[in-house]
């Protein structure tokens, strides 16, 4: 097919964009391959090749589950629930003021207070609750308290981040209207801001509680109480048939908590 010089030839993308795209993909592939070789440098492939046999071995030991062990799990389960709930409560209570200090439209000072609040949020968010638990067990000793505080510290960042984003998205005209009646700052928060963020607040809190249930099931691995403690002792004695029971209990708890959280969130929104 011939084209005259003045009719443009259709191309999928301009050649420059095309090039850029291919170069980008090339680097991504190259980087992945490089990382792969670096990562597997010390991998003993004999172990990997042996994995299916190991898997069937472990599978054989896991079944049948030792149902009798269930009786020893009620107390740890109750502890796990308490760690999650009380931890969420602590986290939420601290997160509320942090969120108001971090939101651009409610912070008392954008230059000084806001960066500090954001730093609190980032620190809390970057560190997994298991690491918080590791630290707290070392500091205040093993037990439920370490777990509760760990869950609380991790929740602050999560709740505060989502909450301050909700605060920043509110309808400012409602705030303006309440302010124009001569209301004080506390009254503006009470009448114009809280009604707008309340549904988001409940949603976020319940969502975090749901996540915390999952996380609190394993905190015991580092000594912070709950089901994880039982998991740790079963693993160290290679009692795989008990591990199965623990896994099933965890699975059931997670499913129930997810159902509750979905139910509550639908009710408040």
């Amino acid at each position: 097919m011939t084209t005259r010089a003045d009719t443009p030839i259709w191309q999928f993308r301009t050649s420059k964009q095309h090039m850029l795209r291919w170069v980008g993909w090339f680097w991504l592939v190259a980087l992945s391959v490089f990382c792969w070789t670096l990562m597997t440098e010390d991998t003993i492939w004999a172990f990997v090749a042996d994995a299916p046999r190991q898997a069937s071995d472990i599978g054989g030991r896991m079944l049948p589950p030792r149902w009798g062990y269930l009786n020893q799990l009620w107390q740890p389960l109750w502890d796990t629930l308490n760690i999650a709930t009380l931890g969420t409560l602590i986290g939420v209570i601290i997160a509320i003021p942090v969120a108001f200090l971090a939101a651009g439209n409610t912070t008392p000072s954008r230059r000084f207070v806001r960066p500090v609040a954001l730093l609190v949020i980032v620190t809390s968010r970057s560190i997994n609750s298991l690491i918080w638990a590791l630290l707290l067990v070392a500091i205040i000793g093993p037990g439920l308290l370490a777990g509760i505080v760990a869950i609380g510290l991790r929740s602050i960042g999560f709740v505060a981040k989502l909450l301050y984003e909700a605060i920043e998205e509110i309808d400012e005209s409602q705030v303006e209207a309440v302010r124009s009646t001569g209301a004080s700052e506390a009254q503006v928060i009470d009448y114009a801001i809280i009604p707008q963020i309340l549904p988001a607040f409940w949603g976020i809190s319940v969502f975090r509680w749901d996540i915390n249930i999952r996380e609190s099931t394993i905190l015991g691995l580092v000594g912070a109480g709950g089901l994880g403690l039982q998991l740790q002792s079963s693993l160290s004695t290679l009692a795989w048939n008990q591990v199965t029971v623990i896994f099933l209990v965890i699975l059931a708890t997670v499913v129930v908590s997810e159902w509750v959280s979905a139910k509550v969130r639908r009710a408040v929104l």
């Binding site: 991504l28 980087l31 992945s32 990382c35 792969w36 670096l38 990562m39 597997t40 010390d42 991998t43 003993i44 172990f47 990997v48 994995a51 190991q54 898997a55 472990i58 109750w78 502890d79 629930l81 308490n82 709930t85 009380l86 980032v122 620190t123 968010r125 970057s126 560190i127 997994n128 298991l130 690491i131 590791l134 630290l135 070392a138 500091i139 205040i140 000793g141 037990g143 439920l144 308290l145 509760i148 999952r214 996380e215 099931t217 394993i218 691995l221 580092v222 998991l231 693993l235 896994f247 965890i250 699975l251 997670v254 499913v255 009710a267 408040v268």
Partner: protein
């Protein structure tokens, strides 16, 4: 008084959430009883906590004056494992998630495929990364390879679910239009679905990259490689200044990943 008072009435704010007073009281009473029980079940050894305060203070000092040098070799090895694990598992996760995500989209997949893919997603999402890591370490031995598999497995559930939801939310008119041209299934996916979900897929992958890095710093605690193992050792040896250094590096990398991924997402969309 501006206008004549026609009637003298009282007003009380109607209840916001639960209309039925019986429900309100039941829930209020129930939650207070729970709180009392839960708090009383937490046994706190206040003497141990008091002792721990001094250690906590040392940890804060260690965090403020981190020691990067004396354990640098360990930290470096852990970081390289974490970073390579993060990238390779995200890439592998995306590669596997795309077909599963398409298979789990109701508008594209036949019923049996849909059920199978949804099943895979549910299994992958139900278990904590840590629990999967425990199993995989038992099968594949210690080291980053087990960590890589853990993170890949967890990424699959996360990415496939969100991808499937995106595909189901696609504009069906565009799909119909392409189908009306006589296009086959592959062409429909290529021309109608891919352009709509591609920016979201890239966004989700970057988000998962962020999550995978955070998780990679934890699963080392159960032996699956990465900087978590370094951190665990440092805390066990009460070397709070080295632990502080590791935590600061984790926070910094999370920040960098978060900011650059939000930058790339804005650039892609």
């Amino acid at each position: 008084m501006t206008s004549e008072v026609t009637s003298s009435r009282t007003w009380k704010r109607p209840p916001v959430l639960l209309k039925d007073p019986r429900w309100r009281w039941t829930i209020l009473l129930g939650s207070s009883v729970y709180l009392i029980l839960a708090i009383s079940s937490v046994e706190v050894d206040w003497f141990r906590v008091y002792e721990g305060l001094e250690r906590g203070w040392r940890f804060i000092q260690g965090f403020l004056t981190p020691d990067f040098s004396s354990r640098w070799r360990d930290i470096q090895a852990g970081l390289i494992e974490s970073l390579t694990m993060t990238l390779t598992s995200t890439v592998a996760g995306v590669l596997v998630s795309v077909p599963i995500g398409i298979g789990a989209a109701r508008n594209l997949a036949p019923a049996p495929v849909y059920m199978l893919c949804r099943g895979i997603i549910t299994v992958s999402r139900s278990f904590q990364e840590i629990i999967i890591a425990i199993l995989l370490v038992a099968m594949f031995g210690f080291g980053p390879f087990a960590g890589f598999l853990t993170l890949t497995f967890a990424s699959i559930g996360f990415l496939s679910k969100l991808l499937a939801e995106d595909i189901e939310d696609c504009d069906s008119a565009q799909i119909e239009a392409i189908r009306a041209t006589g296009a086959g299934w592959w062409q429909v996916v290529n021309y109608a679905v891919q352009p709509q979900v591609m920016p979201r897929l890239i966004g989700l992958s970057l988000y998962r990259l962020d999550i995978n890095f955070r998780e990679s710093s934890v699963i080392g605690i159960v032996g699956a490689g990465g900087v978590g193992a370094t951190l665990n050792t440092a805390i066990d040896r009460y070397e709070y200044d080295s632990a502080g250094a590791v935590l600061i590096i984790i926070i910094a990398i999370v920040l960098v990943v978060e900011y650059s991924s939000s930058y790339i997402r804005r650039w892609v969309q």
